[in-house]
Protein backbone atom coordinates (compact mmCIF):
# COMPACT_ATOMS: atom_id res chain seq x y z
CA UNK A 1 0.00 0.00 0.00
CA UNK A 2 1.22 3.55 -0.70
CA UNK A 3 -0.53 4.93 2.35
CA UNK A 4 -2.65 3.74 5.23
CA UNK A 5 -5.60 5.19 3.35
CA UNK A 6 -5.10 2.75 0.48
CA UNK A 7 -4.23 -0.18 2.75
CA UNK A 8 -6.96 -2.86 2.64
CA UNK A 9 -8.42 -3.51 6.08
CA UNK A 10 -10.87 -6.06 4.67
CA UNK A 11 -8.34 -8.77 3.93
CA UNK A 12 -5.85 -10.79 5.93
CA UNK A 13 -2.21 -9.77 5.69
CA UNK A 14 1.20 -11.32 6.21
CA UNK A 15 3.59 -10.34 8.99
CA UNK A 16 5.68 -8.26 6.59
CA UNK A 17 2.60 -6.40 5.31
CA UNK A 18 1.50 -5.61 8.87
CA UNK A 19 4.98 -4.39 9.82
CA UNK A 20 5.07 -2.24 6.67
CA UNK A 21 1.65 -0.84 7.64
CA UNK A 22 3.01 0.09 11.07
CA UNK A 23 5.94 1.97 9.51
CA UNK A 24 3.57 3.78 7.13
CA UNK A 25 1.33 4.83 10.03
CA UNK A 26 4.30 6.16 11.99
CA UNK A 27 5.60 8.06 8.98
CA UNK A 28 2.18 9.63 8.35
CA UNK A 29 1.65 10.63 12.00
CA UNK A 30 5.05 11.55 13.45
CA UNK A 31 3.50 13.68 16.21
CA UNK A 32 1.14 10.97 17.42
CA UNK A 33 2.53 7.51 16.64
CA UNK A 34 5.89 5.92 17.32
CA UNK A 35 7.11 2.34 17.12
CA UNK A 36 8.87 0.69 20.03
CA UNK A 37 10.68 -2.62 19.69
CA UNK A 38 10.22 -4.35 23.05
CA UNK A 39 12.31 -7.38 22.14
CA UNK A 40 12.95 -10.14 19.63
CA UNK A 41 10.92 -13.28 19.25
CA UNK A 42 12.41 -16.74 19.77
CA UNK A 43 13.27 -16.93 16.07
CA UNK A 44 14.67 -13.39 16.11
CA UNK A 45 11.79 -11.36 14.66
CA UNK A 46 11.30 -7.84 16.08
CA UNK A 47 8.44 -7.54 18.61
CA UNK A 48 6.94 -4.15 17.78
CA UNK A 49 4.51 -2.03 19.78
CA UNK A 50 2.83 1.12 18.49
CA UNK A 51 2.74 3.99 20.97
CA UNK A 52 0.06 6.65 20.56
CA UNK A 53 0.97 9.74 22.60
CA UNK A 54 0.31 13.46 22.51
CA UNK A 55 3.14 14.31 24.87
CA UNK A 56 4.05 14.20 28.54
CA UNK A 57 6.36 11.67 30.13
CA UNK A 58 5.27 8.26 31.43
CA UNK A 59 1.62 9.21 31.32
CA UNK A 60 -1.02 6.78 32.60
CA UNK A 61 -1.48 4.33 29.74
CA UNK A 62 -3.74 1.72 28.18
CA UNK A 63 -2.31 -1.49 26.68
CA UNK A 64 -4.05 -3.44 23.92
CA UNK A 65 -2.61 -6.56 22.35
CA UNK A 66 -3.83 -8.85 19.57
CA UNK A 67 -2.55 -12.08 18.08
CA UNK A 68 -1.01 -13.74 21.11
CA UNK A 69 -2.55 -16.95 19.71
CA UNK A 70 -1.29 -16.77 16.16
CA UNK A 71 -4.16 -18.56 14.39
CA UNK A 72 -6.72 -16.06 15.65
CA UNK A 73 -6.25 -13.96 12.51
CA UNK A 74 -9.25 -11.70 13.00
CA UNK A 75 -7.48 -10.25 16.06
CA UNK A 76 -4.30 -9.07 14.32
CA UNK A 77 -6.47 -7.76 11.47
CA UNK A 78 -8.62 -5.88 13.99
CA UNK A 79 -5.46 -4.51 15.63
CA UNK A 80 -4.45 -2.99 12.30
CA UNK A 81 -7.88 -1.39 12.00
CA UNK A 82 -7.69 -0.05 15.59
CA UNK A 83 -4.35 1.60 14.83
CA UNK A 84 -5.78 3.44 11.84
CA UNK A 85 -8.95 4.34 13.77
CA UNK A 86 -6.92 6.00 16.51
CA UNK A 87 -5.02 8.21 14.05
CA UNK A 88 -8.21 9.02 12.12
CA UNK A 89 -10.22 9.87 15.22
CA UNK A 90 -7.73 11.84 17.28
CA UNK A 91 -8.81 15.49 17.04
CA UNK A 92 -12.14 14.42 15.52
CA UNK A 93 -13.79 12.19 18.08
CA UNK A 94 -14.26 13.98 21.39
CA UNK A 95 -14.02 10.85 23.57
CA UNK A 96 -10.84 9.51 22.01
CA UNK A 97 -9.26 12.97 21.93
CA UNK A 98 -9.92 13.37 25.66
CA UNK A 99 -8.32 9.97 26.30
CA UNK A 100 -5.19 10.75 24.27
CA UNK A 101 -4.87 14.24 25.71
CA UNK A 102 -4.28 12.64 29.11
CA UNK A 103 -3.17 9.05 28.48
CA UNK A 104 -1.01 7.03 26.11
CA UNK A 105 -2.17 3.95 24.23
CA UNK A 106 0.18 1.03 23.50
CA UNK A 107 -0.96 -1.39 20.80
CA UNK A 108 0.89 -4.64 20.09
CA UNK A 109 -0.68 -6.01 16.90
CA UNK A 110 1.41 -9.17 16.38
CA UNK A 111 2.15 -10.46 19.85
CA UNK A 112 3.36 -13.83 18.59
CA UNK A 113 5.32 -13.06 15.39
CA UNK A 114 6.92 -16.50 14.98
CA UNK A 115 3.60 -18.28 15.34
CA UNK A 116 1.92 -15.82 12.97
CA UNK A 117 4.61 -16.26 10.31
CA UNK A 118 4.18 -20.02 10.71
CA UNK A 119 0.42 -19.79 10.11
CA UNK A 120 1.20 -18.20 6.75
CA UNK A 121 4.03 -20.49 5.75
CA UNK A 122 3.33 -23.93 7.17
CA UNK A 123 0.28 -24.42 9.37
CA UNK A 124 -2.66 -22.03 9.38
CA UNK A 125 -3.95 -23.48 12.63
CA UNK A 126 -0.78 -22.95 14.68
CA UNK A 127 -1.55 -21.38 18.08
CA UNK A 128 1.56 -21.41 20.24
CA UNK A 129 5.02 -19.86 20.08
CA UNK A 130 7.74 -21.66 18.08
CA UNK A 131 10.23 -22.26 20.84
CA UNK A 132 11.98 -25.64 21.02
CA UNK A 133 11.47 -27.69 24.17
CA UNK A 134 14.57 -29.71 25.05
CA UNK A 135 13.79 -33.40 25.12
CA UNK A 136 10.60 -33.13 23.12
CA UNK A 137 9.84 -33.37 19.43
CA UNK A 138 6.90 -31.04 19.96
CA UNK A 139 7.32 -27.30 19.44
CA UNK A 140 5.93 -24.23 21.15
CA UNK A 141 4.37 -23.00 24.34
CA UNK A 142 0.90 -21.57 24.84
CA UNK A 143 1.73 -17.91 25.49
CA UNK A 144 -1.50 -17.50 27.42
CA UNK A 145 -0.48 -20.10 30.00
CA UNK A 146 3.09 -18.87 30.51
CA UNK A 147 2.51 -15.86 32.79
CA UNK A 148 3.42 -15.78 36.47
CA UNK A 149 -0.10 -16.05 37.81
CA UNK A 150 -1.14 -19.44 39.10
CA UNK A 151 1.63 -20.85 36.92
CA UNK A 152 1.90 -24.61 37.29
CA UNK A 153 -1.60 -24.99 38.74
CA UNK A 154 -4.53 -26.76 37.10
CA UNK A 155 -5.71 -25.17 33.88
CA UNK A 156 -2.66 -25.74 31.69
CA UNK A 157 -0.68 -28.73 30.50
CA UNK A 158 2.84 -29.88 31.32
CA UNK A 159 2.92 -31.89 28.09
CA UNK A 160 4.96 -30.05 25.39
CA UNK A 161 2.71 -31.62 22.74
CA UNK A 162 -0.42 -30.06 24.19
CA UNK A 163 -1.96 -26.89 22.75
CA UNK A 164 -2.08 -25.51 26.30
CA UNK A 165 1.50 -26.40 27.25
CA UNK A 166 2.55 -23.90 29.93
CA UNK A 167 6.30 -24.00 29.28
CA UNK A 168 9.12 -25.05 31.64
CA UNK A 169 8.78 -21.95 33.84
CA UNK A 170 6.84 -18.69 34.01
CA UNK A 171 7.92 -16.11 31.41
CA UNK A 172 10.02 -18.75 29.62
CA UNK A 173 8.70 -17.35 26.34
CA UNK A 174 10.50 -14.21 25.24
CA UNK A 175 7.25 -12.99 23.67
CA UNK A 176 5.73 -12.99 27.17
CA UNK A 177 8.83 -11.80 29.05
CA UNK A 178 9.16 -8.80 26.71
CA UNK A 179 5.68 -7.60 27.68
CA UNK A 180 6.26 -8.33 31.38
CA UNK A 181 9.45 -6.26 31.33
CA UNK A 182 7.85 -3.43 29.38
CA UNK A 183 4.78 -3.23 31.62
CA UNK A 184 6.88 -3.48 34.79
CA UNK A 185 9.35 -0.82 33.67
CA UNK A 186 6.59 1.49 32.50
CA UNK A 187 4.82 1.17 35.83
CA UNK A 188 1.88 3.38 34.95
CA UNK A 189 -0.40 1.19 32.85
CA UNK A 190 -4.00 1.47 34.04
CA UNK A 191 -5.84 -0.84 31.67
CA UNK A 192 -4.66 -4.01 29.91
CA UNK A 193 -6.78 -5.59 27.19
CA UNK A 194 -5.66 -8.79 25.48
CA UNK A 195 -7.67 -9.77 22.42
CA UNK A 196 -8.36 -13.33 21.32
CA UNK A 197 -10.93 -15.13 19.21
CA UNK A 198 -13.37 -16.81 19.08
CA UNK A 199 -16.68 -17.23 21.05
CA UNK A 200 -17.76 -13.64 21.70
CA UNK A 201 -16.87 -13.19 25.34
CA UNK A 202 -15.55 -10.35 27.49
CA UNK A 203 -13.62 -11.82 30.38
CA UNK A 204 -11.94 -10.49 33.49
CA UNK A 205 -9.76 -12.25 36.12
CA UNK A 206 -9.37 -14.80 37.53
CA UNK A 207 -8.82 -17.86 35.42
CA UNK A 208 -6.58 -19.85 37.76
CA UNK A 209 -8.72 -19.65 40.88
CA UNK A 210 -12.38 -19.37 41.85
CA UNK A 211 -11.42 -16.59 44.25
CA UNK A 212 -13.26 -13.42 43.21
CA UNK A 213 -11.08 -10.43 42.38
CA UNK A 214 -11.28 -7.51 44.80
CA UNK A 215 -12.87 -5.30 42.12
CA UNK A 216 -15.26 -7.94 40.80
CA UNK A 217 -18.43 -5.88 40.83
CA UNK A 218 -16.78 -2.88 39.19
CA UNK A 219 -15.18 -5.04 36.48
CA UNK A 220 -18.49 -6.83 35.96
CA UNK A 221 -20.43 -3.57 35.59
CA UNK A 222 -17.89 -2.19 33.16
CA UNK A 223 -17.93 -5.42 31.14
CA UNK A 224 -21.72 -5.21 30.96
CA UNK A 225 -21.56 -1.66 29.63
CA UNK A 226 -18.84 -2.59 27.14
CA UNK A 227 -20.72 -5.56 25.66
CA UNK A 228 -23.92 -3.48 25.43
CA UNK A 229 -22.09 -0.80 23.45
CA UNK A 230 -20.43 -3.44 21.30
CA UNK A 231 -23.80 -5.02 20.50
CA UNK A 232 -25.33 -1.65 19.63
CA UNK A 233 -23.68 -1.67 16.19
CA UNK A 234 -24.56 -5.03 14.65
CA UNK A 235 -26.38 -6.83 17.45
CA UNK A 236 -23.43 -9.16 18.11
CA UNK A 237 -24.12 -10.80 21.43
CA UNK A 238 -21.33 -11.26 23.95
CA UNK A 239 -21.33 -12.99 27.30
CA UNK A 240 -19.17 -11.61 30.09
CA UNK A 241 -17.77 -12.68 33.42
CA UNK A 242 -14.64 -14.03 35.05
CA UNK A 243 -12.58 -16.49 33.06
CA UNK A 244 -13.08 -19.42 35.41
CA UNK A 245 -16.84 -19.02 35.73
CA UNK A 246 -17.50 -18.20 32.09
CA UNK A 247 -15.32 -20.72 30.28
CA UNK A 248 -12.94 -22.89 32.30
CA UNK A 249 -9.98 -22.93 34.62
CA UNK A 250 -6.91 -21.53 32.88
CA UNK A 251 -3.67 -20.93 34.76
CA UNK A 252 -0.72 -18.74 33.80
CA UNK A 253 -2.99 -16.35 31.92
CA UNK A 254 -2.10 -12.85 30.78
CA UNK A 255 -4.74 -10.79 32.54
CA UNK A 256 -4.44 -12.69 35.82
CA UNK A 257 -0.83 -11.51 35.92
CA UNK A 258 -1.66 -7.95 34.88
CA UNK A 259 -4.43 -7.72 37.49
CA UNK A 260 -2.14 -9.11 40.20
CA UNK A 261 0.46 -6.58 39.08
CA UNK A 262 -1.97 -3.79 39.97
CA UNK A 263 -3.62 -3.10 36.62
CA UNK A 264 -7.24 -3.02 37.74
CA UNK A 265 -8.93 -2.82 34.34
CA UNK A 266 -7.64 -6.12 32.93
CA UNK A 267 -9.79 -7.75 30.28
CA UNK A 268 -9.69 -10.39 27.57
CA UNK A 269 -11.93 -10.17 24.53
CA UNK A 270 -12.87 -13.27 22.56
CA UNK A 271 -14.06 -11.90 19.22
CA UNK A 272 -16.39 -13.36 16.59
CA UNK A 273 -17.81 -15.81 16.00
CA UNK A 274 -19.62 -18.29 18.25
CA UNK A 275 -18.90 -21.30 16.09
CA UNK A 276 -19.73 -21.19 12.43
CA UNK A 277 -16.21 -20.51 11.15
CA UNK A 278 -14.26 -20.34 14.39
CA UNK A 279 -10.66 -19.32 13.68
CA UNK A 280 -11.37 -19.28 9.93
CA UNK A 281 -13.61 -16.21 10.02
CA UNK A 282 -14.09 -14.92 6.46
CA UNK A 283 -12.21 -11.69 5.68
CA UNK A 284 -15.44 -9.86 4.94
CA UNK A 285 -16.18 -9.97 8.66
CA UNK A 286 -12.88 -8.29 9.66
CA UNK A 287 -14.09 -4.68 9.46
CA UNK A 288 -17.48 -5.18 11.14
CA UNK A 289 -15.76 -7.19 13.87
CA UNK A 290 -13.19 -4.43 14.41
CA UNK A 291 -15.84 -1.71 14.35
CA UNK A 292 -18.01 -3.31 17.02
CA UNK A 293 -15.03 -4.30 19.15
CA UNK A 294 -13.84 -0.72 19.05
CA UNK A 295 -17.06 0.38 20.80
CA UNK A 296 -16.31 -2.08 23.59
CA UNK A 297 -12.72 -0.91 23.81
CA UNK A 298 -13.77 2.75 23.91
CA UNK A 299 -16.13 1.98 26.80
CA UNK A 300 -13.26 0.52 28.83
CA UNK A 301 -10.77 3.24 27.84
CA UNK A 302 -13.21 6.07 28.58
CA UNK A 303 -14.03 4.55 31.97
CA UNK A 304 -10.31 4.18 32.74
CA UNK A 305 -9.75 7.85 31.93
CA UNK A 306 -12.61 8.91 34.20
CA UNK A 307 -11.72 6.61 37.07
CA UNK A 308 -8.05 7.21 37.80
CA UNK A 309 -6.47 5.14 40.60
Amino acid sequence: AHSTDTFSYATYHTLDEIYEFMDLLVAENPNLVSKIQIGNSYEGRPINVLKFSTGGTNRPAIWIDTGIHSREWVTQASGVWFAKKITDDYGQDEQLTAILDSMDIFLEIVTNPDGFAYTHSKNRLWRKTRSITAGSSCVGVDPNRNWDAGFGEAGASSNPCSETYRGKFANSEVEVKSIVDFVTNHGNIKAFISIHSYSQLLLYPYGYTTTRVAHQSELDQLAKAAVENLASLYGTKYKYGSIITTIYQASGGTIDWTYNSGIKYSYTFELRDTGLYGFLLPAKQIVPTAQETWLGLMTIMDYTLKHPY
Binding site: K122, N123, R124, E163, Y248, G275, Y277, G278, L280, P282
Partner: protein, 94 residues
Protein backbone atom coordinates in the same frame (compact mmCIF):
# COMPACT_ATOMS: atom_id res chain seq x y z
CA UNK B 1 2.14 -26.30 4.04
CA UNK B 2 -0.06 -28.46 6.26
CA UNK B 3 -3.07 -29.82 4.32
CA UNK B 4 -6.31 -30.13 6.28
CA UNK B 5 -8.34 -31.99 3.67
CA UNK B 6 -11.01 -34.11 5.30
CA UNK B 7 -10.40 -32.57 8.71
CA UNK B 8 -13.72 -31.82 10.37
CA UNK B 9 -14.56 -29.54 13.26
CA UNK B 10 -17.18 -31.13 15.49
CA UNK B 11 -19.30 -29.19 17.95
CA UNK B 12 -19.92 -31.45 20.92
CA UNK B 13 -22.78 -30.77 23.33
CA UNK B 14 -22.08 -32.61 26.56
CA UNK B 15 -25.29 -33.16 28.50
CA UNK B 16 -23.67 -33.44 31.93
CA UNK B 17 -20.37 -33.51 33.79
CA UNK B 18 -19.92 -37.24 33.11
CA UNK B 19 -20.06 -36.59 29.38
CA UNK B 20 -17.62 -33.68 29.71
CA UNK B 21 -15.30 -36.12 31.48
CA UNK B 22 -15.69 -38.61 28.63
CA UNK B 23 -14.62 -35.91 26.17
CA UNK B 24 -11.63 -35.13 28.37
CA UNK B 25 -10.64 -38.79 27.98
CA UNK B 26 -10.56 -38.22 24.23
CA UNK B 27 -8.30 -35.23 24.75
CA UNK B 28 -5.71 -37.49 26.34
CA UNK B 29 -5.52 -39.87 23.37
CA UNK B 30 -2.56 -38.23 21.59
CA UNK B 31 -2.66 -40.55 18.60
CA UNK B 32 -5.99 -39.02 17.57
CA UNK B 33 -4.18 -35.64 17.13
CA UNK B 34 -7.26 -33.76 18.25
CA UNK B 35 -7.11 -29.94 18.29
CA UNK B 36 -9.61 -28.47 20.72
CA UNK B 37 -10.71 -25.06 19.45
CA UNK B 38 -12.93 -24.71 22.53
CA UNK B 39 -11.87 -27.08 25.27
CA UNK B 40 -14.14 -29.17 27.48
CA UNK B 41 -15.31 -27.09 30.43
CA UNK B 42 -18.90 -27.25 31.68
CA UNK B 43 -21.99 -29.00 30.29
CA UNK B 44 -23.60 -25.77 29.13
CA UNK B 45 -20.61 -24.70 27.02
CA UNK B 46 -20.11 -26.15 23.54
CA UNK B 47 -16.87 -28.05 22.86
CA UNK B 48 -15.34 -27.52 19.41
CA UNK B 49 -12.68 -29.93 18.23
CA UNK B 50 -10.83 -30.29 14.94
CA UNK B 51 -10.52 -33.97 14.06
CA UNK B 52 -7.97 -35.06 11.47
CA UNK B 53 -9.45 -37.17 8.69
CA UNK B 54 -7.95 -40.51 9.90
CA UNK B 55 -9.58 -40.03 13.32
CA UNK B 56 -13.00 -38.79 12.25
CA UNK B 57 -14.72 -42.18 12.18
CA UNK B 58 -13.26 -43.34 15.48
CA UNK B 59 -14.23 -40.12 17.26
CA UNK B 60 -17.79 -40.21 15.95
CA UNK B 61 -18.18 -43.86 16.99
CA UNK B 62 -16.85 -42.99 20.45
CA UNK B 63 -19.27 -40.06 20.87
CA UNK B 64 -22.26 -41.99 19.57
CA UNK B 65 -21.48 -45.03 21.70
CA UNK B 66 -21.57 -42.79 24.77
CA UNK B 67 -24.71 -40.97 23.65
CA UNK B 68 -22.83 -37.68 23.39
CA UNK B 69 -24.51 -35.29 20.95
CA UNK B 70 -22.41 -33.56 18.30
CA UNK B 71 -22.84 -31.66 15.06
CA UNK B 72 -20.45 -30.90 12.23
CA UNK B 73 -19.35 -27.27 12.48
CA UNK B 74 -16.92 -27.41 9.57
CA UNK B 75 -17.27 -30.26 7.09
CA UNK B 76 -13.83 -29.87 5.51
CA UNK B 77 -11.32 -27.42 6.98
CA UNK B 78 -9.24 -27.34 3.80
CA UNK B 79 -12.19 -25.95 1.81
CA UNK B 80 -12.37 -22.91 4.10
CA UNK B 81 -8.59 -22.50 4.00
CA UNK B 82 -8.68 -22.56 0.22
CA UNK B 83 -11.38 -19.86 0.21
CA UNK B 84 -9.26 -17.76 2.56
CA UNK B 85 -6.14 -18.15 0.44
CA UNK B 86 -8.05 -17.33 -2.74
CA UNK B 87 -9.44 -14.18 -1.11
CA UNK B 88 -5.97 -13.05 -0.10
CA UNK B 89 -4.58 -13.87 -3.55
CA UNK B 90 -7.41 -12.03 -5.30
CA UNK B 91 -6.73 -8.98 -3.17
CA UNK B 92 -3.01 -9.11 -3.93
CA UNK B 93 -3.54 -9.47 -7.69
CA UNK B 94 -6.02 -6.54 -7.61
Amino acid sequence: KEDFSGHQVLRISAADEAQVEKVRELEKLEHLQLDFWRGPSQPSTPIDVRVPFPSVQAVKVFLESHGIKYSIMIKDVQVLLKDEEEQMFAFKSR
